[in-house]
C-alpha cells in the first residue's frame, strides 16, 4: 500500500513538473503584460510541429515542397530580423533613417540567403539541435508578429478582450501550423530512455516504478526554471521585466520601452512553449492533441497565482500529485459508493482542489495580495 502510494506520488510529481512548464508560459506573459494568454497551448503545438517536421523522417512522408520554401523563408527572415534588432538595440541606438533602411535591406538579403541555404539543406532531415535552433528563431519571429499585429493595437483594453484576442491567435496558429506542417502524427526523437526503472525492490514488493523518460524531462524542466529564475533576478532585462510587471506607467517613465519588453516576454514564453513542446512531443508524438495540454495548466495557475513563478512550480507539483492520487485512490471508492460508470475524476479534481483552495486564499498560493480601493 505504501509502495503504491509512493509510486503514484512520484508519478504525479513528475507529471506535475511538466504542467508547471506549461503554466510558466502563462505566468510570464501575465506578469509582464496582464494578458491571459490562451494561445500558449497552440504555441506549444506549433513549436513541436516545427521541430518534428524539420528534424523528422521526411523521406518517409510526403515532402511538401511549398512547406519547405515557406519554412526556409521564415527561418531566414527570423535570423535576419533578430540580427537586425540586436544590432539596432545595442550597437546603433542613434542610427538615423538611412542606416535603418540600409539595415532593412541587409535583413532582406540575409533572409533570402538564409532561406536558400536553409532550403537546400532542408531537403534532408535536420539534426535535432539545428531544428531546435531554427524553431527558437521562428518562435521569436512569432512573438514579434503577435506584438506587432495584435498586442500593439490592443493597449489599454480590458483583460477579457485581450484574453479573447489570444483565443483568436490560438485558432489562427492551430490552422497555420497544420497547413504548414500537416496534421499527421510526427515523432520527435530525443533519445529519452524508455524502459521502466524499479527502485527499492527489496523494500516494496515489485519495487517503486519510475519512468526514466519523465525523470529526464522533469530534469530539463527544472533546469529551465532555474535559468528563468536567474534571468529574472540577475540580468538587466530581467530587472526591466520585473519593473514592468510592477507598474507599467512607472517603468515607462524611467525609460523602459514597453513594446520591447513585451516582445522579449513573448519570445521567452515562446521558448518555454518550445521546451514544453519538445518534451510533450517526445512523450506523446506530435499531433493536434498536445495543444489541449494548456487546459491542464489552468488549475496550476489559479492554485499558484497568475503572477508567481514559484507558484507555477509548486502549484504544478501539487496539482500533478493531487490528481493522480485522487484518481488512483479516491476514484475507485466513489465508483463503488455511487455505482458510477468508471472513475476519471482527475479532470475536475484538480479544478476543485484549486477552487476550494481559492476560497481561503483568493490570490493563490504566492499571488500578490489583492488590495482594493474605492
Amino acid at each position: 500500500m505504501l509502495g503504491a502510494f509512493l509510486e503514484t506520488l512520484i508519478g504525479g510529481l513528475l507529471t506535475g513538473v511538466l504542467y508547471s512548464l506549461v503554466a510558466l508560459g502563462f505566468v510570464l506573459i501575465f506578469k509582464a503584460s496582464g494578458v491571459f494568454n490562451f494561445a500558449q497551448g497552440a504555441m506549444v503545438l506549433f513549436a513541436a510541429l516545427t521541430i518534428a517536421r524539420l528534424s523528422g523522417e521526411i523521406d518517409n512522408k510526403e515532402v511538401h515542397l511549398a512547406n519547405f520554401v515557406v519554412a526556409a523563408a521564415i527561418l531566414g527572415v527570423a535570423v535576419a530580423l533578430i540580427g537586425w534588432y540586436a544590432w539596432r538595440e545595442y550597437v546603433a541606438r542613434g542610427a538615423g533613417p538611412d542606416e535603418r533602411r540600409k539595415m532593412q535591406m541587409l535583413a532582406a538579403v540575409g533572409a533570402l540567403v538564409g532561406g536558400i541555404a536553409a532550403y537546400s539543406y532542408g531537403k534532408g532531415a535536420w539534426p535535432i539541435w539545428l531544428a531546435i535552433a531554427a524553431t527558437a528563431a521562428i518562435m521569436g519571429l512569432l512573438a514579434y508578429a503577435i506584438e506587432r499585429l495584435v498586442l500593439r493595437h490592443l493597449v489599454n483594453q480590458e483583460g477579457i478582450i485581450l484574453f479573447m484576442a489570444t483565443l483568436g491567435i490560438a485558432n489562427f496558429l492551430d490552422g497555420f501550423g497544420q497547413t504548414l506542417w500537416g496534421s499527421d502524427i510526427y515523432k520527435i526523437n530525443l533519445g529519452l530512455p524508455k524502459d521502466p526503472l524499479f527502485l527499492f525492490e527489496n523494500v516494496f514488493p515489485g519495487g517503486l516504478l519510475v519512468d526514466p523518460g519523465e525523470l529526464v524531462a522533469a530534469g530539463i524542466a527544472a533546469g529551465l526554471v532555474v535559468v528563468l529564475a536567474i534571468f529574472f533576478q540577475k540580468t538587466r532585462v530581467g530587472r526591466a521585466l520585473r519593473a514592468v510587471a510592477d507598474d507599467h506607467a512607472a517603468a515607462q517613465s524611467v525609460g523602459i520601452p514597453l513594446n520591447t519588453i513585451w516582445l522579449i516576454v513573448w519570445t521567452v514564453s515562446g521558448l518555454v512553449a518550445l521546451a514544453a513542446g519538445l518534451i510533450w512531443g517526445a512523450k506523446l508524438g506530435v499531433q493536434f492533441s498536445i495543444s489541449l495540454i494548456a487546459l491542464k495548466a489552468l488549475p496550476v495557475l489559479i492554485l499558484g497565482g497568475f503572477t508567481s513563478v514559484p507558484g507555477a512550480i509548486v502549484g504544478g507539483l501539487i496539482i500533478g500529485a493531487g490528481e493522480k492520487l485522487s484518481e488512483v485512490f479516491l476514484a475507485p471508492v466513489l465508483v463503488k459508493a455511487f455505482d458510477l460508470a468508471g472513475g476519471g475524476i482527475e479532470n475536475w479534481f484538480a479544478y476543485m482542489l484549486a477552487l476550494v483552495f481559492l476560497l481561503f486564499r483568493p490570490q493563490g498560493l504566492f499571488g500578490e495580495r489583492i488590495i482594493e480601493r474605492v
Binding site: T15, V70, I185, V328
Partner: protein, 450 residues
C-alpha cells in the same frame, strides 16, 4: 481613426497574404459539380483535429476507391461517382452540419453516409429514417443497430463492437484453455470516454457474469493524452488482460504507458480501431507484442492495389503515397468504398443503371451478398470473408481474427473466430426492443421481407 484604418489595412493585407499563400501552396483546382447522370456520395471524413492521423488514411482509401471505379470501369455500370468530402473533425455538430449540407446534393442526393464516428452515427440514426438515407457504419456505431427490423437504415457491416469484444474474449479463452479457465481472472477495459468506448461494456459484463471473471472498465477522457493514473492503477491491480478501446492519440499513449509501467504488451488486446500503424509506430519498441482484433482485413497490398497503382498512382492521381496504401486504415477505407459501390451495383439490378436515391441504395445494401468468387474478382481476396446482409442481420458477417505487431509490421496470429450469437443475439434483441419502445417505432417483420 487613423490607427483603426491602419489596423484595418494591415489586417486585410495580412489576411490576403495568408489566404494567397495557402491557395498557392496546395490548392488543387478541379471544379467538380455532380452532373445529372452522376451518383453522388457524400464523404463525412476528417483530416483535421485531434483524430486526424487516423482519419487521413481512411479518407484516402475511400476517395481512391471511388476514383478507381471511375477511372477503371467508367463508374458503376456507366454511372460515374461524384464524391465530395466534408471535414467533420470528429465533432458531432460539425458532422451533422456536413450531412445536412450534402444530403441532397447531386441528382438524387447522397447514396449513403459513412461518418467514421460513433457519435455522428448516433446523431444521424435519428435523421436517417426521415431523410431516407442509409448509414454504413462499418465496424462501428450502435451494436444493436444490426437488427434491421428496428434499425432499418443502419448497416454496421462486417462487425459491431459486441462482435469485436466477443472475438477478443474467445481468443483469450482459447489461449487460457477454454472459457471455464477464465474464472477468477481479472480483465480491464481501457476505453475512450464516449459512446464509442462504452459500447463493448455491456457485452463484457455479460461475459463476466457467464464465466466468473472480474471485469473493470476504466475510462480515459478525450483526447486521451493523460493516462498515467489509469496505468498506475493497472500496475497495482495486476489484471491478467487489458482490452483497449481507444482512438487516435489515445491508442499510442496507452501502449506507451503500458510499456512505462511494464504491463506485458502481449496481454493487451485492442479493438480494430486500435490496431493500425499510427497507433503502434509512436510507441516504437514498446509496442512489440501488442495485439488487436482485425475487421476482417489486415495490412498489406493485394490485387486491388495493383489496379490502384496502374490507374491512379502511376498517373499521380492517388490521394496518399503508394507505399502507404497497404496500411490498415487505408485498406479499411478501400473496403468501405467497395461495399458502398457494390451496394449501389446491387440496387441497380432492381432500379436500373442510373443515379439512385438513398432509399433505393438501402435496398441494395440490405440484399448485398458478396461471394468468395466476387471478392476475388474485385481484387480483395485475402482482405475479406464472404458476406450476406439480410433484413434481420445488418452485419453481414461476424468473423474476425487477431493480429500482432512485431515491431515492424502486423502479422495475423489466429484463426478465424465468429462472435457467438447465442450471447449476442438476445442482447441485440433486448436493446433494439428498448430503443423501439423509447422512440415509439413500428417494427418491421423480417420474416415477411423477401
Amino acid at each position: 481613426m487613423g490607427l483603426r484604418k491602419a489596423a484595418l489595412r494591415k489586417a486585410v493585407i495580412f489576411g490576403a497574404a495568408v489566404a494567397a499563400a495557402g491557395f498557392v501552396a496546395t490548392a488543387t483546382v478541379q471544379a467538380q459539380t455532380p452532373g445529372p447522370n452522376d451518383q453522388f456520395i457524400a464523404g463525412l471524413i476528417y483530416r483535421t483535429g485531434a483524430y486526424a492521423p487516423n482519419g487521413i488514411p481512411f479518407a484516402n482509401g475511400i476517395a481512391d476507391y471511388y476514383a478507381l471505379v471511375n477511372a477503371r470501369d467508367g463508374g458503376i455500370n456507366g454511372v460515374k461517382i461524384s464524391y465530395e468530402e466534408c471535414d467533420t473533425a470528429y465533432a458531432t455538430d460539425r458532422g451533422v452540419e456536413c450531412y445536412e449540407r450534402l444530403k441532397n446534393k447531386g441528382p438524387t442526393g447522397t447514396a449513403y453516409v459513412s461518418p467514421l464516428s460513433t457519435g455522428i452515427t448516433f446523431a444521424l440514426t435519428e435523421k436517417a429514417p426521415i431523410d431516407k438515407i442509409p448509414i454504413i457504419s462499418m465496424g462501428y456505431g450502435r451494436s444493436e443497430s444490426r437488427d434491421g427490423s428496428v434499425f432499418q437504415w443502419n448497416f454496421p457491416l462486417l462487425g459491431t463492437y459486441w462482435s469485436a469484444a466477443d472475438i477478443i474474449m474467445q481468443h483469450i479463452a482459447k489461449k487460457e484453455g477454454g472459457f471455464d479457465k477464465l474464472k477468477g481472472k481479472k480483465i480491464v477495459l481501457v476505453y475512450h470516454d464516449s459512446p464509442y468506448g462504452k459500447e463493448p461494456i455491456a457485452l463484457l459484463e455479460q461475459r463476466a457474469k457467464m464465466h466468473g471473471f472480474e471485469f473493470t472498465p476504466m475510462p480515459v477522457t478525450h483526447p486521451g493524452v493523460e493516462q498515467k493514473a489509469t496505468w498506475l492503477q493497472i500496475r497495482q491491480n495486476r489484471p491478467d488482460y487489458v482490452l483497449l478501446w481507444g482512438w487516435g492519440v489515445m491508442n499510442s499513449t496507452s501502449i506507451k504507458e503500458a510499456a512505462a509501467v511494464g504491463f506485458p504488451r502481449d496481454k493487451m488486446y485492442g479493438v480494430w480501431w486500435s490496431g493500425a500503424e499510427p497507433d503502434v509506430r509512436p510507441a516504437e519498441d514498446g509496442a512489440k507484442g501488442y495485439n488487436a482484433a482485425m475487421l476482417q482485413h489486415g495490412a498489406g497490398q493485394f490485387a486491388v492495389h495493383a489496379d490502384l497503382k496502374k490507374f491512379l498512382y502511376d498517373k499521380g492521381q492517388g490521394s496518399a503515397k503508394y507505399d502507404e496504401t497497404g496500411e490498415v486504415l487505408y485498406n479499411r477505407g478501400l473496403i468501405n468504398g467497395m461495399l458502398g459501390v457494390e451496394s449501389i451495383r446491387k440496387a441497380q439490378t432492381k432500379f436500373g443503371n442510373k443515379p439512385l436515391t438513398g432509399e433505393q441504395v438501402r435496398w441494395g445494401i440490405e440484399n448485398l451478398e458478396i461471394s468468395a468468387a466476387r471478392i476475388k474478382e474485385l481484387g480483395f481476396e485475402g482482405m475479406l470473408q464472404p458476406m450476406k446482409v439480410s433484413c434481420s442481420d445488418h452485419e453481414g458477417t461476424r468473423a474476425g481474427r487477431i493480429q500482432q505487431w512485431d515491431g515492424k509490421k502486423w502479422t495475423v496470429v489466429s484463426e478465424w473466430y465468429e462472435s457467438d450469437d447465442k450471447v449476442i443475439k438476445p442482447m441485440v434483441d433486448a436493446a433494439a426492443k428498448k430503443y423501439a419502445e423509447e422512440k415509439k417505432l413500428t417494427v418491421r417483420d423480417c420474416s415477411k421481407e423477401s
